[in-house]
Structure formats: structure tokens, C-alpha cells
Symmetry: C2
Subunit: 386 residues, 2 copies
């Protein structure tokens, strides 16, 4: 059985990088990952990106970034699945290595949101929802998430500050992450007084759009350099699932089928049960998504995912630590890079390189990357081999 190893990890700081372009961001993360991998040369590049064709007038990122990174000639392609683009790019790289056709595959997730503002960004983000039936009505991902959150609060009698724990945990964890956009813990009073984006979703229930890039180098275990120095981390499970794009087509608005299916498949492949998972990098672009992921995967029963956040169960010393480096809320949401950041951070944890945020003895991590309200879900189980 081919073991696929994460041999290199890299990332840029997440933030408003007005001074450098999309390709430069990607290059920074790639160089970081290649250096970390100790000289392994990739034969393929998988780019996770969400909105460059709309926001930067730039498609065809595979060839562009491969060339810019000095890898001219290698196989290179862009993988898109809205917010899950990063997770999806990782999966394609995984399949390429697993197939035996590619020895070493580079994944880079890259996004540049902040060159544009306001309606232009909203319109671009809305391309991730059903254009003919949702976006055309003026629905944006945030207003859609607000509808989900309202329904959830109504059905489950959630108090008005019931979701605060997601933001508080993320911002507490982001404080020690030098690559995070926001590095300051927030207090419950701040959350309670925060401005509404789309009632009941306030500005702490939505992750900030940001610029950033993260990269991973995958290879087969038998191809690692003899002097490879990092603790060994492998991809033990990889799976993807999809659901309706339009929310109105769902049988149950408040259950993320694709999150459940893909996590279940990845765990089955890895031979891992829920209790063995030491940390969970969820897709907390909206607090409600995080709650529904916790429920779909089985960390909480239906309607009670928010309680894990309220009770401190998702904290660094909690039952199931989540968003351990700040998640999308504090690290920042860099679109197609988001799913790659998750795995870079999870790998850091498994290598015991997470500094002040280290989960003691972490051996197994789950990362789940979503496109829209789990219209696409990618799940990866990352496991320490040391």
C-alpha cells in the first residue's frame, strides 16, 4: 500500500497583501514548502484557487505559477470547488501520488481577495452559490449563512450569544500564530456588541476575506531523501463528497450530508474512529458551518454542536480542539488557500511544531474543507508516523 507523506509545508502570513501579487504570494509559500521538504523536486503542481479569474483577471494559474516558481515544464493545473478549492487541490495531488504516476506533487492554495472591495467581491463570492436560482436573487454566501444560523437558533433554542464560543476560541488561538491576520483574543462583551453583517450573523461569526498562500509537498514514503529530517506525517485518509449547490434543494437544511459522508470515508480509509482524533481543523468561515460540521461528523448530536463551543470543548485543552491556530476567523479566510492552511497547521501540530498552541501528544488530525454550505466537502485524516 502506497503511503503518501506530507514531506514539506509552507505558508505566508495571512492579511492584506496589497504590496505583492498573486504569483508572489504563491511563490513564497512554495519556496517555504520546498525548503522544508529538503530538496525533493515535484513533477506536478495542483493550484487551489477560488476567485482569481474574477478578482485578478487571471485564470490558467497552473502554468503561470509553475513557471514563476522555476518549475517550468512540470504538470500543472488549477482545481476549483469554491471554498473547498484548497482541500480539492490536495486531494488531486494525493490521487496523483497514490496512482504511482507522479512521484512528488506540490499543492499550493492561493487567494488574493483584498485588491477589490465591496460589491465586486460579493459578486465574485456569489459565483460559488447557484447563480441562476440564488445569486440572481441577491443572495450572498453571508446572507445564506445567516438564514441557516437563524433557523438553527430557532429550532434548537440557542441563546443570542450561543455562537460566541467559536469566535472566542479562534481569536484566542490566533494570538500566538505569527501567520494569523488577527492576533488578539477577544472578550465575550466584544462579541456581544459586534455589528451585524446579516442578522443574526455578526462580524465575528464570519471570517475576514484575506490574501494568503499555503503549500504542501506530497511524496511516497520510499522516495523521501535519506537525510529527511522532519517528523513523518502521512495522509492516512482522503475523501470528497458533494451536495446540492442551492440550499433550497436540501432535504434537511441543518445537516451537512457531504461533511458526514466525506469524513466517514476518510476515517474508514485511515482505520480511525472519532475518539482517536486529537484535533479538528474545521471550515469556520461562518460559525454556523463549524457547528454543523461538528454535528455531521459526530462530535455532537444534532442541534448541540454550538454547545461544544460554549462549553470550551473545542479549546486547546478541550475534548476536541478545533481551529488550533486561529481557524479562518483569526488566521483569515484566504479562499482557495484555506483548505491548504488547515493541513499545514494540522501537520505542524503532528510534528510538535505548533508552539504555544501545541496539542500535547497529537497524533491524528482531521481537516475538513467546505465549498458553500458543504455543497462540496473534502476530508483528510493526517497522521503522525513517529
Amino acid at each position: 500500500m502506497t503511503e503518501v507523506i506530507i514531506a514539506g509545508i509552507g505558508q505566508t502570513e495571512v492579511g492584506e497583501h496589497w504590496e505583492i501579487g498573486l504569483r508572489d504570494l504563491a511563490l513564497d509559500a512554495i519556496q517555504d514548502a520546498l525548503k522544508d521538504a529538503g530538496g525533493l523536486k515535484p513533477q506536478a503542481l495542483f493550484v487551489g484557487n477560488m476567485l482569481a479569474p474574477n478578482l485578478s483577471n487571471q485564470a490558467h494559474l497552473g502554468a503561470l505559477i509553475a513557471d514563476y516558481a522555476g518549475l517550468t515544464g512540470i504538470e500543472a493545473v488549477t482545481v476549483e470547488a469554491a471554498g473547498a478549492s484548497g482541500g480539492a487541490a490536495l486531494r488531486q495531488a494525493y490521487l496523483a501520488v497514490k496512482s504511482g504516476m507522479v512521484d512528488a506533487a506540490l499543492v499550493v492554495g492561493v487567494e488574493k481577495f483584498t485588491d477589490k472591495v465591496g460589491a465586486e467581491v460579493d459578486e465574485a463570492l456569489a459565483t460559488a452559490s447557484d447563480s441562476d436560482f440564488e445569486a440572481v436573487q441577491g443572495m450572498t454566501p453571508a446572507s445564506q449563512a445567516a438564514l441557516l444560523m437563524k433557523r438553527y437558533m430557532h429550532e434548537n433554542n440557542v441563546p443570542s450569544n450561543g455562537f460566541a464560543g467559536f469566535a472566542l476560541t479562534a481569536h484566542a488561538n490566533g494570538a500566538a500564530n505569527k501567520n494569523a491576520m488577527f492576533r488578539k483574543a477577544i472578550k465575550p462583551e466584544i462579541y456581544a456588541k459586534a455589528e451585524m453583517v446579516s442578522d443574526p450573523l455578526n462580524m465575528f461569526d464570519i471570517a475576514p476575506n484575506a490574501d494568503g498562500a499555503a503549500a504542501l509537498l506530497l511524496t511516497r514514503r520510499d522516495l523521501l531523501p535519506r537525510d529527511y529530517k522532519n517528523p513523518l506525517v502521512k495522509i492516512a485518509g482522503s475523501a470528497a463528497s458533494s451536495d446540492t449547490l442551492a440550499l433550497h434543494d436540501r432535504k434537511d437544511l441543518l445537516y451537512f450530508d457531504a461533511a458526514q459522508i466525506s469524513a466517514g470515508k476518510a476515517m474508514k480509509q485511515a482505520g480511525v474512529i472519532l475518539d482517536q482524533i486529537d484535533l479538528f481543523e474545521y471550515h469556520d468561515v461562518f460559525s454556523i458551518y463549524a457547528a454543523l460540521q461538528l454535528e455531521a461528523i459526530g462530535f455532537a448530536i444534532k442541534g448541540k454542536g454550538w454547545e461544544l463551543a460554549a462549553n470550551g470543548d473545542i479549546g486547546l485543552k478541550g475534548r476536541i480542539p478545533c481551529a488550533t491556530m486561529g481557524g479562518m476567523k483569526a488566521r483569515g479566510f484566504a479562499g482557495g488557500a484555506a483548505g491548504v492552511y488547515q493541513v499545514v497547521e494540522a501537520a505542524s501540530q503532528l510534528r510538535s511544531e505548533a508552539g504555544a498552541n501545541q496539542i500535547a501528544g497529537a497524533k491524528i488530525a482531521l481537516a475538513q474543507s467546505l465549498g458553500g454550505p458543504a455543497s462540496t466537502a473534502l476530508s483528510h485524516i493526517i497522521q503522525s508516523l513517529d
Copy 2:
């Protein structure tokens, strides 16, 4: 060794489909391919698309199309590499099946160009070139191809009608293809009098932007239904390569490195030499691309690719039949679907289902899908097993 079989093929007519949307086009081709495959159920969908985020305000096509095709829940993703998106989607599906992680993978290439006209389409197409250094100067893919063509004609003393053979062959072959946009042979006088798009590139040297969808179902040989009825066709070789996105960064403007490298790798994998290739589906979105592909792959020496067209060598009874069902010029250029149409047509030839355009005894075909001026190149060797 896992043998990857093309178990089902499907396509829509190529043309101006103003009456139906992107998802409907995709659905038609998918249903066609699933029916052809005799009931095999895919676990994964790979969508090849180029410009839907720009032209249809619709990204996230994987989940959208999977759901619309009644395949809700399967793994689904979009693969983008400009004009090579179709070939790249096929490659990802191939790797997925080859890896053993996916039993049956569906590929659909889909594009809808003609809902928009003029500058909007030009701007969208220009996202395939280097936005910061080429498109920003007003360069479009057509004007870039015209520069290449002019240089080629100058260096190789090509007469003014030297490229006519590409258009004449394509339109002659398109006449009998019921799915082609143009089904009428043209005469040399028509080519000679054609309006210039960007001198020396006239309207017959550029393929028409069109709407269309094509689909393939891939599976492992051992998973074919017992009552599978189609002649067996396999993917014997699959490879990808990239080159600089910006043309000014090339060492040699008139040599398509990525076309050479990817074709060479695919042939090596298949254990096939050039002489054994019975037909070649090239990426004739511009005549100059076809000429440079013929040279890069080795069907002609450098500077003489155009002569194969002028001499009739690329005709149905020629030395190396090309664009056998009309190519992009007569079938029409449906962006991300183009690379899938190539393989659907090649598979038809190998199944002896190409009607009036049948290449007698065809056993091995090469399809090559390009993004930009071979900034991306995907090569697939398709082989008959009967």
C-alpha cells in the same frame, strides 16, 4: 497494471445554444455517456471548464453539475487549465481511477461562450494569458496567435495561403459530423478571400467560440459490466506538461516544448512510436497551433508542419489524419469541452463508429489539448483493445 477503459462517451451538438443553460448542456452529454457505458455508476465527477466564472457568473460547477445529473453526493470538482481544461479534467479522472481510490470517474467538459459577445468574451479569454504582462497591454489569444503565425511565416518562407490546408481539411471533415457547428466543406478561394481577424490570421485560421459539452466515463477493465457491448478502448498513455504563460519568456517562440514533452511521455507510457499513431486530434483553435503541434510531436521537422496540411498529409486518407471529425475549426471551439470532444471523437474512431469519416483500421489515436500557446499541454494515447 491497472487498465483504464473509456467505457462511455457522450456529446452534445456544438453551436449557439441560446435556448439552454450550462448545466443542461452538461447533463445532455453526461446522460449520453452514462447510457453508452451501460449502467456503470460513477463515484467522481471531473468538470473541465474555462470561463463559466466570468461568462456565466457560475463557479463551483462540480457540485452543481453532479446534483443536476442526479449524482448528488459524489466527489466532484472543476479542473481548469485554460483551453486545456478538458484534457486536464480527463487526466485527473484517469489518475483517480489509476490510484484505485475511485472505481468509475465521469469527465464532462462544458462551455457556454455565446451568451456573451464582443469585449466581454475577449476579456474573459484573455484571463488565459498573463494578465499582468500580456492582457494588460491589450493582447488577446487571437492577436498573440497572429504574432506567432507572422513570425513563423517569415522564418519559414510560408506563402500567404500556406495555412489554408488546416481549414480546408477541418471543414471537409466537419461536413459529415452531425455534432459539428459547421458542416460544409470550403474551397481554397473562400479561404483566400476570408476577412482578417488579426493579420495574417484570417477567420478560417481561428476556431469559432461555441457552446457544447462532451463526456467520458472511465473505469478499470475488471469493473466493466459483464454485458458490456462497446468495442474496448483504453487510455494507454496520459501526460501533462507546462511552459511559460507569457510568450515573451520563451527561449524559442516557435517550438511548443510542453507539446513535445507531454506527447513523448504519453507515448513512452503506452509503448507506442509515432508511426503507430493512426490519427491525431490536435488543438486547432488557431492554425498556427496545429502546425507547431505537428512539429513538436515529430510528425514534421521544424518549420515544415504547415506543409503536411498543404500536401494533404493530414486528410482522412493522408499520412497522419488530423481533426478527423472537423476539429475545433469546423466542430467549433467549446473551451473546456474541447479536450473532451477530442477524446470522444478519437474513441469513436477506434470503435469504428466514425461513419463517413472513419479511418480504416484505426487502432491508436493521440489527442492533445492545449491551454494558450502550449503553456499547458495534455496528451492522451487512446488504444483499441479489440
